[in-house]
């Protein structure tokens, strides 16, 4: 008999020792890091966090998020919330393993190595960014750890984590170019990394932890860099149709368009989350109901809130509205595509599981011919967001300057909405920008972080008066550390209020 009769090794996987000891595999390892972006609770199911903001609410399945959205937040989370904690760490460990072995022997150029290293560091920082704004203090580690180590980790103060993120993003941006490496769209660029950095700086400034001028400066530099790289708002055709301009950003045909700085890359053969099934008006689950409050926040085409708009007609409430409404929300009377067939959508009558009259449209059926079953890229950062961040930072530093007005008005002009009224106070301008962010970035995973970092979650969520929505201040700004983690590791502490 053979001596090794009992020695059988995996045949469709590799051993880590062999894999990471070969520079030829670094690109494969980096791809593996990018792959985690497709995880639902990292970035791919991006409308989900809007459902604990004042934009919408989940139905049934994500019981811990639903309880959270009704003010019943608890630490014994089991369904969805633990993924918000765990999925960033999947990225982090993959990046750590790659970075630990970035000097693996093999025949690749130093430029390759430098780039892989910079991308992995930036991705890791983005994962920590995700963690810190959801959970506050979190374990911070920067080399690959084994299971025993993971059971003894302690939480690092959030400010230290932020400092790490800022340093890492800066270091990465210094290496990366404005074109994606190897011209492979989807890989991080200098402007993408700087964009994420700016977002961190704005969040920190909003929370009073860093000066606004830092954010304002960085954003001004970023806009220069971005423009130099050809980044701009997208319009389509003659640019005359506001709704079409806006929708074009999200179309399958326009993947990697010039407005996109960073996105989760999906396609037909490597699909992401099937958002149409979860959220689409014709999907099977229809698990998000859009709040009436959100729909009502879209202005009339005259640029005025519906309470004062002269073009708003309560008998025909969805006409003469900001074109982004119908691009973002399916409203009663809408048609949506169900394969090739158009079916009238009768609001709550049609779908038993919809608890308001409104369903999500963005990322579900915008394509117009078929559901988004995970083929569409999911945008993490786009230029409109940058413009609005700049308007906000500029207003905070210098007041509502022309530059600040220009930035927000560019976003409005793209959808044929009138300019913001001139002569606003700094406070009114701030509110206008925050409103603009809500209608421009609906269901793009921004609203929750805006509410929390601006400190307005209490005011906004508790004003909804629909579906039992509630927010408990001084507690729900952060998610609880999953109780299951604390059970396994006594070194971990819990967030305030849980």
């Amino acid at each position: 008999c053979k001596k090794d009769f009992l020695t059988r090794l995996p045949q469709d996987t590799l051993s880590p020792d062999n894999f990471y000891n070969n520079a030829a595999n670094l690109k494969i390892g980096l791809t593996g890091v990018y792959n985690t972006l497709q995880n639902a609770q990292l970035f791919d199911k991006i409308p989900e966090l809007d459902a604990i903001s004042d934009n919408s609410m989940l139905f049934k399945y994500e019981t811990d998020l639903i309880a959270f959205s009704q003010g019943n937040a608890y630490a014994n989370i089991t369904n969805t919330m633990p993924n918000y904690y765990g999925q960033p760490y999947i990225l982090i460990q993959r990046a750590n393993e790659l970075l630990d072995n970035i000097n693996a022997p093999g025949n690749i150029t130093q430029a390759d190595r430098n780039d892989y290293q910079a991308e992995a560091r930036a991705l890791r920082a983005i994962a920590y960014m995700r963690l810190v704004y959801l959970f506050g203090d979190v374990p911070l580690y920067t080399t690959f750890i084994d299971k025993a180590t993971s059971l003894t980790l302690t939480r690092t103060l959030r400010d230290k984590v932020i400092a790490f993120i800022v340093t890492e993003l800066q270091a990465s941006a210094a290496v990366l170019g404005t074109k994606p490496y190897n011209n492979e769209k989807g890989r991080l660029t200098k402007q993408a990394v700087l964009g994420m950095l700016c977002k961190v700086l704005v969040y920190e400034a909003r929370m009073g932890k860093r000066p606004w001028v830092e954010a304002q400066t960085a954003l001004a530099q970023l806009m220069t860099t971005a423009q130099g790289a050809g980044v701009d708002l997208l319009t389509t055709g003659t640019g005359a149709n506001g709704q079409a301009n806006y929708e074009a950003v999200f179309l399958l045909a326009n993947a990697d368009n010039k407005e996109v700085l960073f996105a989760v890359k999906n396609n037909d053969l490597n699909r992401g989350v099937d958002l149409s099934t979860f959220y689409g008006a014709g999907g099977g689950n229809l698990s998000v109901s859009v709040h009436t409050n959100f729909v009502n926040d879209f202005y009339g085409t005259d640029g005025l809130p519906i309470a004062t708009s002269s073009v708003y007609n309560p008998a025909s409430p969805y006409t003469n509205r900001d074109p982004r409404l119908k691009a973002t929300v399916t409203v009663p009377g809408d048609v949506y595509s169900n394969n090739a067939t158009l079916v009238p959508f009768n609001g709550r009558i049609t779908k038993g599981t919809l608890q308001t009259d409104f369903a999500i449209k963005k990322y579900t059926t915008l394509d117009g011919t078929k559901f988004n079953q995970g083929q569409l890229d999911v945008i993490i950062l786009r230029y409109a967001d940058i413009l609005l961040l700049f308007a906000e930072a500029e207003n905070e530093v210098n007041g509502p300057t022309t530059a600040a007005y220009n930035a927000i008005n560019r976003v409005r002009a793209r959808v044929n909405m009138p300019n913001v009224k001139t002569g606003l106070t700094q406070t009114d301008f701030r509110n206008e920008v925050i409103h603009e962010r809500r209608v421009e970035l609906g269901f793009e995973g921004q609203r929750w972080f805006d509410l929390v970092t601006l400190g307005i979650a209490n005011q906004k969520i508790n004003a909804i008066n629909e579906l039992g929505r509630k927010f408990v201040p001084n507690k729900q700004e952060l998610f609880p550390i999953p109780q299951s983690e604390i059970n396994l590791n006594a070194n971990l502490t819990q967030n305030q209020g849980y």
């Binding site: 590799l14 051993s15 494969i28 593996g32 490597n270 049609t350």
Partner: protein
């Protein structure tokens, strides 16, 4: 008194010459001074002479013996001296004979023992024997396995003659003396010290067993068989022996003629016996794989010196579902109920009274009638030839089964079986043989909800998600929808009604969504046995098990139309889809065993040592293709998109050494020791080998001389202890792995991505089951009544557990560690009675098992309540320390709120679902007593494991007629039913809901209606699981009832037919269960088990013909 000098022990020196014995004796007398007394004439001294020899300092006795050698004279010492006497002649004769069976055919190998002397032999291949004995009168004891032991008294043997006996043995039907197949051998039941149950072909005869696993129903204590669906050819039976002993695969090890093989591809007609090894002592010989019990299947073989017989067995009949729900189909009632439900759950309804009136005159559809046939035919045929010459036996069989599915469409199961078992005695010492079986199964499966993600779970034929789509569609479609619209197209709901129809037209599903599974299985082994010296045999066996499966799942595009407006509403599976899975596995087993048997007086020894090695290779290719141009041609390559393929493959190996030592003293004291050492490729080099010992003992008290209770003729105590292992885990749990499946697209090109997918555990070792069993066997009234009982404790520790990694580790696949512990404790009893009263033979049997299953710990490092894991969210299956495996966890419903005052007085129910309850809604127990119903009030609300299993049977025979009935049942076992049993799971409502709570009908059993998962009550059904949906599926079932008539031999004697038996049979004829509308035998581990197909009632008529 004589001095020592005068005794025969004195040393003398004497020279004997060549002389007559007479002279020599005289000289001897002189020299020794011994007194010699003899009668020289009578002794004929003169005819003897002696040869010269000199003795010096030799005892007198030696000298005398020298003188008397070669004579017929011996000596005796008496008080008077030495007396010479004649030797008595040994008068000898022989007992010869032949041992025959009932049919008069020779029985080779039978044991013939002369009781008085203990001398014995075995009959030769021609059935004859010969034993030399001294003259006298003797008793012969003739025994042979499976025959009644016979005593032949008063066998007179005369000097120099042969006494010839012609002995006919009767086959033994009593269970106590039956031969039981055990690991690597067989034993008489009376010799067994462990816990072994067996069933013979007789127990299975004529039952319409379509898959061999069904043979175990109700006959064997300690065995829990659950078939989760009645789908033809796909019963997905699970066999659990004495509870679930692990968190991993708890399937029993199944060996067919010694080689591991699936049970379901054997033609049940080929089965000779099935043994179930339940405790450590009986199973330890299979060490590493025996922790969950062992099922040994032996197939029929030919007999030496028997005429060829041809057996033809066949049955044909009809099957029908045991139970189907009653649905509300009257359009008016339906729409009114729907409106009521919608209002209750806060949903607007668009349809009007005018719509209801309009539909009142329309025909309605019972979608269950669309899905189910009333009856489906079944037929089975087996033809077998068996026989043997003086040195070769053969058994050849050919079987065919066709079972039509009960679901309409093309569903059916076709099984073809070929088997050849041949044994050949090449020489007295060398025997060779083979068992080769091939089977082909062609199953046209029903539409199922299966995972279609090729990169994730590969699709297969097991029920997932929503279960059987045809059945589910029957429960969840609007009866107001016709099957076809006016143009003969698939209809869907009239859109103007504003209702939802989230299930596709069932007829369209049946016609367009189907899967075909083809199984080719080859199972064969060859052996050679050699007797090195008497009683020492060596046997080598090589077995091969090859399985190839092709599974093709096709989903054709179809469209559904509004039957009123004629508008196209939806196109399903646009472009059509094809999933093609090819899977094959090969197992090679080789084992060498050596046995030695020895009888020394009343001591019987048996020893067995062996070596076994086994290896397995498996591979699966899955290919998916989408977007076909035509629904007429859906084959790989004819679609527009590039096919996507995925291969998974792996292998494992096992190497083992084993031994057994049996000792039996006088058939009273029995002792057995087993040992096995196993090495498995599934563990890292650190802990690859495991040792599995067991000991057992038995005391046959009734064989003691002091036992003299006439009616109580058998009493045996048994006890066993041992350790068993389990290696059923992932193939490479010890290895850290990088998987290249984390792909990502840059531009639109997919790039291969790699990442650590598993952190291995090189210290992983065998999980261990320590099993203790105490048993008693009793027989009364000449063993007409037998009673057996066993008490057992099985403790499994170090269970290979997928302990959740901390999320911060960033590796979601859990690392497998030796962690959890499970205990199964219980007892079982088996009572059988057989008698003949006049011409009526009767029999009855009853068996009973109680098993208490407890999870002792999951992750030992966690404490108390924290040590719990949700196994499956949608199935609501949990592992909780101190509870049985897979308990149901959620909210305890205490009843139905009857009025607002009750709600006001109750704990705050509004927080739980974010909705305040109304009268007619569930009242939920405030488990922690804090006045608020919330997630902290969850508790264990159901146990899926039946603690009680039982079966009983009756038999009666009169002349040629015989009747048998087999009942089988389980005690309380919970199942969590899905929302498809609730009112309006989107659509459709069962008639039981007519008795719902309304202000006018304040029901305490049925709450008020709702739609789908909406509103307060709807929230209790799927995610916030409440105990209302936990149902007891205890059942008692008349599993089989049969009436047969055997045509008298006198009628057949003039024909070429030897034996003809005809019968009628019914399976699952009666069922008693508290579970309403659904068959109680169903998938118990998933929530969607509701829509698994019901078991079938099968009515057959058949015949057994031998010629």
């Amino acid at each position: 008194a004589r001095s020592d000098a005068q005794t025969i022990k004195q040393k003398v020196s004497i020279a004997i010459g060549n002389e007559s014995l007479d002279q020599a004796l005289a000289q001897f007398g002189k020299t020794t001074h011994l007194q010699l007394a003899y009668d020289g004439t009578a002794l004929g001294l003169k005819k003897y002479t002696v040869k010269a020899k000199n003795f010096s300092a030799t005892t007198a006795a030696e000298v005398l013996e020298y003188l008397l050698q070669n004579t017929n004279i011996t000596y005796k010492e008496t008080s008077d001296g030495i007396v010479l006497v004649p030797k008595t002649r040994l008068k000898q004769g022989k007992i010869t004979g032949i041992v025959l069976d009932e049919k008069g055919e020779a029985l080779p190998g039978a044991t013939v023992v002369v009781v008085e002397t203990g001398a014995g032999t075995q009959t030769k291949p021609d059935g004859t024997f010969s034993i030399p004995v001294q003259v006298g009168t003797y008793t012969l004891k003739i025994s042979f396995i499976a025959y009644q032991t016979l005593l032949v008294k008063n066998v007179v043997v005369e000097d120099g003659k042969e006494t010839h006996q012609k002995i006919a043995l009767q086959s033994d039907n009593s269970k106590l003396n039956e031969v039981v197949v055990v690991g690597y051998g067989s034993k008489l039941k009376s010799e067994i010290t462990g816990a072994v149950s067996s069933i013979s072909s007789k127990d299975l005869a004529n039952r319409p067993i379509t898959q061999a696993s069904q043979a175990l129903y109700g006959l064997v204590p300690g065995v829990y068989l659950n078939t989760s669906t009645g789908e033809a050819g796909n019963n997905q039976a699970t066999i659990r022996i004495r509870g679930i002993g692990t968190l991993n695969d708890a399937s029993a090890l199944i060996l067919v003629d010694g080689i591991e093989a699936p049970l379901d591809n054997i033609n049940p007609t080929d089965i000779e016996s099935i043994s179930v090894l339940k405790d450590a002592s009986s199973a330890a010989i299979y060490g590493s794989r025996a922790a969950n019990g062992v099922v040994l299947v032996t197939t029929k073989r030919g007999k030496l010196n028997s005429k060829p017989t041809i057996d033809y067995t066949a049955y044909a009949g009809l099957s029908a579902p045991t139970v189907l729900p009653q649905m509300v189909t009257d359009p008016t009632t339906y729409l009114q109920l729907y409106r009521e439900a919608a209002l209750n759950s806060g949903t607007k309804v668009a349809f009007t009274d005018a719509d209801i009136a309009r539909y009142a005159s329309q025909p309605s559809t019972n979608w269950l009638d669309v899905a189910f046939k009333k009856t489906a035919p079944i037929q089975q045929h087996t033809i077998a030839v068996r026989g043997g010459s003086t040195n070769t036996t053969y058994s050849l069989s050919l079987g065919y089964l066709k079972q039509d599915g009960i679901i309409k469409g093309n569903q059916d199961y076709n099984a073809y079986n070929i088997r050849s078992n041949i044994d050949n005695t090449i020489s007295k010492k060398l025997k060779v043989g083979s068992s080769i079986a091939y089977s082909y199964g062609l199953t046209n499966l029903t539409p199922k909800d299966v995972a279609t993600q090729i990169a994730g779970n590969a699709i297969d034929n097991t029920l997932t998600g929503k279960g059987n789509l045809a059945f589910e569609g029957g429960l969840m479609q609007h009866p107001i929808v016709p099957v076809y619209d006016g143009l003969g197209r698939y209809a869907t709901l009239e859109q103007a009604l504003g209702l939802t129809s989230s299930r596709n037209n069932e007829q369209a599903i049946l016609n367009n969504e189907y899967a075909v599974q083809k199984d080719n299985r080859l199972l064969g082994n060859v052996y050679a046995e050699y007797e090195i010296i008497k009683d020492l045999k060596v046997k080598g066996t090589v077995g091969y098990n090859y399985q190839q499966m092709g599974y093709v799942d096709t989903r054709k595009e179809f469209s559904q139309y509004d039957p009123v407006s004629g508008a196209l509403v939806s196109t399903v599976f646009p472009g059509s889809q094809l999933y093609d899975i090819q899977r094959n596995s090969q197992n090679v087993t080789a084992f060498l065993q050596s046995t030695y048997e020895k009888q020394v007086g009343l001591h019987n020894f048996k020893a067995l040592i062996g070596y076994n090695q086994e290896s397995s290779v498996q591979k699966q290719n899955t290919v998916e293709q989408l977007n076909f141009g035509s629904t007429d041609l859906i084959t790989l390559g004819s679609g527009a998109t590039t096919p996507v393929a995925l291969t998974t493959q792996g292998e494992w190996a096992l190497r083992s050494f084993f031994g057994r030592f049996d000792y039996n003293f006088d058939n009273k004291y029995l002792f057995e020791f087993n040992f096995r050492r196993d090495g498995s490729s599934r563990f890292g080099a650190n802990n690859r080998y495991g040792n599995f010992p067991s000991v057992s003992g038995g005391w046959l008290i009734s064989n003691e001389k002091f036992w003299d209770v006439k009616f109580f003729d058998l009493l045996k105590l048994r006890a066993s202890w041992g350790k068993l292992g389990n290696q059923n885990t992932a193939l490479y749990p010890f290895a850290s792995q990088v998987a290249l499946t984390s792909n990502y697209s840059f531009n639109n090109n997919i790039n291969t991505g790699g990442a650590i997918s598993v952190l291995g555990n090189p210290d992983l070792k065998w999980e261990q089951t320590t099993s203790t069993d105490i048993g008693i066997d009793m027989g009364f009234f000449k063993s007409k009544l037998t009673v057996s009982g066993d008490y057992f404790i099985k403790n499994t520790t170090g269970i290979l557990t997928q302990i959740t990694n901390p999320l911060t580790l960033g590796i979601t696949n859990p690392t497998i560690v030796n962690a959890a512990a499970v205990q199964n404790k219980g007892w079982e009893a088996d009572v059988n009675y057989q008698d003949k009263i006049g011409k009526v033979s009767i029999g009855a049997g009853f068996n009973f098992t109680y098993v208490n299953n407890v999870v002792k710990s999951i992750n030992p490092s966690l404490s108390g309540a924290a040590d719990q894991v949700e196994l499956d969210h949608s199935a609501d299956s949990w592992l909780i320390r101190g509870q049985p495996i897979g308990v149901i966890y959620g909210y305890q419903v205490q009843g139905i709120f009857q009025n607002a005052a009750e709600i006001a007085a109750a704990p705050n129910h509004s927080k739980l679902f974010g909705v305040a309850p109304q009268p007619g809604d569930f009242r939920i127990a405030d488990i922690n007593g804090d006045g608020v119903i919330d997630s902290k009030d969850r508790t264990v609300i159901g146990n899926r494991q039946p603690k009680l299993l039982y079966g009983f049977n009756f038999k009666a025979g009169y002349k040629g007629f015989d009747f048998s009935a087999l009942f089988q049942g389980i005690g309380h076992a919970d199942i969590y039913l899905s929302r498809s049993v609730g009112p309006f799971p989107f659509a459709g409502i069962r008639s039981v809901w007519l008795n719902r709570w309304t202000p006018e009908n304040p029901s305490t059993t049925y709450p008020r209606l709702w739609i789908d998962r909406n509103g307060y009550n709807g929230s209790t059904i799927e995610i916030n699981n409440a105990s209302y949906w936990v149902q007891n599926r205890a059942y008692l079932r008349l599993k089989n009832v049969q009436l047969a008539y055997t045509i008298p031999k006198s009628v057949l004697s003039k024909t070429f037919i030897q034996n003809l038996r005809v019968y009628v049979n019914a399976q699952n004829l009666l069922t008693f269960t508290p579970l309403k509308d659904f068959d109680p035998e169903r998938q118990d581990q998933t929530q969607y088990g509701t829509s698994s197909l019901p078991q079938l009632k099968i009515f057959t008529a058949g015949l057994n013909l031998t010629f």
